[in-house]
């Protein structure tokens, strides 16, 4: 059974159909790319998946459960988490606390237990702290743990955002242009990291990216959006030579340009 199934989903802003008739199936453990020209509706489709926008048509089924109309925090709690195209960290919070926040919905202690400092408060806090530290270690961020997130270098911020998304315990991870603003070297490291966490956490990953090296390099399948509609779907090889994709997105000589 597919982990995520998007059937004919779409959304309209005023007169503009930002996404329409969008169909997608993700199987457990896949690493899939979503590409398309600027303004094609990629970020918007992420927003549909995560409940930021409510689809005006179609339905989204995740893990056998219909997501339409669920608010974002419930979508996250049911196992989808994401990063943002423009980094959205909790900039005044420490790096450690950024990750701890993501554990929020996995902890159980009540407000009263925190106010009265009951044992459950301490045990949950400790638990959160330990797990958060573990994550920071994986992402090589532990030496920054007490630094305010906004003081991190940009590349680390991107990493922290991914770490935070992972800490929420997702089955499906959505990454929106994780390599934006990185140089080729950093991008390369990022690719390795993505591959690593997929193995480590048994994740399914859907990512948006304009960097074709990255997309073609690690994605098993690729969906291509243009003007809100799916124009192609397939393996990197298929996409690379798909005439519609070349016309709308890649441009002519991409296939013979090697880095």
């Amino acid at each position: 059974m597919a982990l995520l199934e998007v059937k004919n989903a779409g959304i309209q802003f005023g007169g503009l159909k930002a996404v329409s008739g969008f169909n997608m199936r993700l199987n457990q453990g896949e690493l899939v790319g979503l590409i398309g020209p600027n303004g094609a509706g990629k970020t918007t489709s992420f927003n549909l998946l995560t409940g930021v926008y409510v689809p005006t048509e179609g339905e989204i089924i995740f893990n056998g459960k219909r997501l339409n109309g669920l608010p974002p925090y419930k979508v996250t709690q049911s196992g989808i988490s994401r990063t943002f195209q423009n980094i959205r960290l909790f900039s005044e919070l420490s790096v450690l606390d950024n990750v701890k926040v993501a554990y929020h919905s996995l902890a159980k202690n009540s407000i009263l237990s925190s106010i009265f400092r009951l044992p459950s408060h301490f045990s949950e806090e400790k638990n959160m702290e330990d797990k958060a530290l573990e994550f920071l270690k994986i992402f090589k961020l532990e030496r920054f743990k007490d630094e305010k997130a906004k003081n991190l270098p940009y590349g680390q911020q991107r990493r922290l955002e991914i770490a935070r998304a992972l800490a929420a315990g997702p089955k499906l991870l959505l990454l929106d242009e994780p390599a934006a603003g990185m140089n080729p070297q950093e991008t390369h490291e990022l690719m390795e990291l993505i591959a690593f966490i997929r193995e480590q956490f048994d994740l399914t990953i859907l990512l948006i990216e304009h960097d074709m090296q990255l997309v073609m390099g690690i994605c098993e399948r690729i969906y291509v959006l243009d003007h809100g509609q799916l124009i192609a779907e397939g393996t990197p090889e298929v996409i690379r030579s798909h005439p519609k994709v070349i016309e709308a997105y890649l441009g002519e000589e991409v296939s013979d340009e090697h880095a």
Binding site: T50, V52, P71, P72, Y73, T76, Q77, S81, R82, F84, R88, L89, F90, S91, E92, L93, D97, K100, V101, A102, Y103, H104, S105, A107, N109, I111, S114, I115, F116, R117, H121, F122, E124, E125, M128, E147, N151, R164, A165, A168
Partner: protein, 311 residues
């Protein structure tokens, strides 16, 4: 674990302060003027800290806090004066009803952001005030006469509880959720935090303590009138929080103390009082727009800091 250590440190400090002050009051060293000033300061601290939770921690720009103060003041006055029930019960009920009012106000308005939220909360506070004004049961414009029941002990206990609850709340996953909402609501939502719930919750807790302050306030000043709870009062509370440093609890406490003392001191210079007060306000903001403490707490100043990163 370090958190629980500072918790006990705080309690011991509070006990010491209480005993010392109580001793001075008992021995007549602190006269009624100063003990009354202390009570006023404590009430203002409660107000400042309760609003700090809403604005400083949760980032919800509420400028109608006096509305909840009014609810607490009136409810508690009704409980003691009309229903003739005990004072402590009155204070608690004042808080509870104010928290309810907070829920009623918060649920529809907290969808709004920034300045729109600000004007809506101000509007609600005005509505509360105007309603009180039109209810004959509580005396309308003439107000209600209230017996003097507030004592230093009760006020101090309320103050300690307020600070404890709000600190403990802030330093927990729930408080972190609130801060996350402040920092980036969209990201908080994406991290599985029910942002509406936490906004409303913080608002209700803030209102609860404003209501408690209201009970202490009304039973300290003999008479309450709707006119005492206008938007200027809300601004006063807001000023405590901002001047202290948004996000800093100790900052709000310090600025509540400072401003209350300055204001009491200036009362004898009626001609220039407000001019000086407003100048202080403007100058502090111009030269320290982040507030006296910034986002730091007093306790941070005592911590040994590794050489990294200045201020």
């Amino acid at each position: 674990m370090k958190k629980s250590k500072s918790f006990w440190a705080f309690l011991i400090l509070a006990a010491v302060v209480y005993v010392v002050v109580q001793f001075f009051i008992g021995s007549g060293f602190i006269n009624i003027y100063y003990s009354n000033l202390l009570i006023t300061i404590a009430i203002n601290i409660i107000l400042a800290v309760s609003l700090h939770l809403v604005i400083g921690i949760t980032g919800q720009f509420s400028i109608g806090h006096a509305g909840f103060l009014a609810v607490g003041a009136y409810v508690s006055a009704i409980v003691t004066m009309k229903l003739e029930l005990p004072f402590i019960l009155a204070v608690v009920l004042g808080g509870v009803i104010a928290a309810l009012a907070g829920l009623i106000v918060g649920i529809p308005t907290l969808r709004l952001r920034g300045d729109y939220l600000a004007i809506a909360t101000l509007g609600f506070a005005e509505i509360i005030r105007i309603a009180l004004f039109n209810i004959d049961y509580v005396g309308g414009a003439a107000g209600m006469q209230v017996s003097h029941l507030t004592t230093w002990t009760v006020t101090f206990v309320c103050l300690v509880i307020t600070i404890l609850v709000i600190t403990n709340f802030t330093n927990s996953r729930h408080g972190r959720a609130c801060i996350a909402v402040r920092e980036n609501e969209i990201a908080a939502d994406a991290m599985g935090i029910n942002t509406t719930y936490y906004k409303v919750l913080a608002f209700a807790i803030g209102s609860f303590f404003a209501g408690i302050a209201g009970g202490l306030f009304s039973h300290n000043f003999y008479i309450i009138q709707p006119g005492n709870f206008g938007f200027l009062k809300s601004f006063d509370i807001l000023i405590f929080v901002v001047l202290g440093g948004l996000g800093s609890l100790t900052g709000s406490v310090i600025s509540a103390i400072l401003l209350t003392v300055i204001s009491a001191f200036l009362a004898q210079y009626p001609e220039t009082r407000m001019i000086i007060y407003s100048l202080v306000l403007v100058i502090v903001m111009l030269y320290r727009p982040q507030g006296l403490m910034g986002t730091r707490e007093v306790t941070d100043l005592f911590k040994w800091k590794p050489a990294k990163g200045g201020n």
